[in-house]
Symmetry: C2
């Protein structure tokens, strides 16, 4: 984006360094390649370690670099487009669903979820834990809240817990008419359990996608999904994926 | 989200502290209120400064706290929902458009933008700089790329630059049929000029929204918009806004 006259604001030193390193990544390094250690890099670019570290942090934030425990800092592949559009009207667990159920518990939901579900604060809710794999990678972990009142037919006898229980809850959802869904995406930090599932450190930046499923004029279910922000680009809209992203721009040449 | 049996993974110390402070923010502090300094806070919660700082960073990432130069750390208001849905088929600059043009330049676009625009790498492109205000706040800054070949009728004589030029380019876009638009959202870091517009520090985490406008089977324009990640929750989908978000959950009680 550095080619227009619109950028009149002076940029900090590490910012220029970030651009220089970004170009070096394009020309001198392959995806997956491990970067030299910070001392060597600082020497190579003639900067202080602190400046280098700032630039590397920026490149990690932009998905150009990955810091992996026990491996070091590697050149990241382009982010993958993961579809989160709501154009496809279907319940969780439908045929087109990209999610896999891993667990199911029954508990009282957090107050704000209960409010959104328009249930009493104390209403028992089925809480499904699901994972999403895309391009062979774990990209997201979800908590799906389904109030017991939404699926009254659900038998308590068969499959009291676990994936089988999840599937039973999802089967019951399919019986209902889906009026619509709301969706929002925002920045968050990975909870310890999500971080573990997604191979991130707790507190890593993540993209939180909250979905409200509406049936017969009321909120029938709420999903809170945590997506990896380092490897994912969330796509939506009416004609598929977008082929471009800021970080890929810098990769271009 | 701490109420289910699904969270079997032990959470780091600062994480628990973050939850405790989050509850204190709900009960003892008002939105906009300035937090005590780190030493006092560390003493109040009986933790080391380093642990406290980690917890505060998490709360900032989640939009609970705002660090403002010269002010200190304040309690953030709930994030505002900003609509980025593509359900409304319209060109930038149409009546419903939330963006304001501030500048316009003509330049060769970045290589990846040129690729997406399917123009020659050297094709002159109108680059519009626009800002988006929501709920009375600056929420996003945009670079909108419109190849000269998309708007051949554009007169070079009147309004050679600036907002008037922007409006002239947008007027020409309205003449075309919009077939569809792709949109993607991902994590990024604020460029210096965007950071200044959005009252953030350069390198702050931001949400990048890239939009491709398709007309007559080709990409007629590309928008790269930088949204504040601290104050914004991007909403899309088919029935309006979502009333819930992770950070608001913790705010509930």
């Amino acid at each position: 984006m550095g080619t227009t006259q619109l950028e009149s604001v002076p940029e900090p030193k590490y910012w220029h360094l970030k651009t220089v390193i970004g170009e070096a990544l394009d020309s001198d390094f392959a995806v997956g390649e491990i970067l030299p250690n910070e001392r060597d890099l600082a020497a190579r670019f003639g900067v202080a370690r602190a400046t280098l570290r700032q630039a590397l942090e920026q490149l990690e934030l932009e998905g150009r670099l990955q810091r992996r425990r026990g491996v070091g800092t590697t050149v990241a592949p382009p982010r993958m487009g993961v579809d989160v559009s709501t154009t496809q009207h279907s319940w969780p667990g439908s045929a087109q669903d990209a999610w896999q159920s891993v667990d199911c518990a029954t508990a009282v939901p957090p107050a704000a979820v209960a409010r959104l579900l328009e249930t009493g604060a104390e209403e028992e809710t089925h809480i499904l834990r699901r994972l999403r794999v895309s391009h062979g990678q774990q990209v997201a972990a979800e908590l799906l809240y389904v109030p017991a009142s939404t699926v009254p037919e659900l038998s308590a006898i068969d499959a009291p817990s676990g994936p089988a229980r999840s599937r039973a809850v999802l089967r019951e959802l399919q019986r209902l008419d889906l009026d619509g869904q709301d969706r929002a995406v925002e920045l968050g930090s990975a909870r310890a359990d999500d971080a573990k599932e997604l191979d991130r450190l707790p507190g890593s930046p993540v993209l939180l996608v909250t979905t409200r499923y509406v049936s017969e004029g009321r909120t029938a279910a709420v999903s809170v999904a945590t997506y990896r922000a380092d490897t994912c680009r969330l796509t939506f809209g009416d004609s598929g994926d977008v082929e471009i992203s800021h970080d890929q721009e810098r990769r271009a040449s």
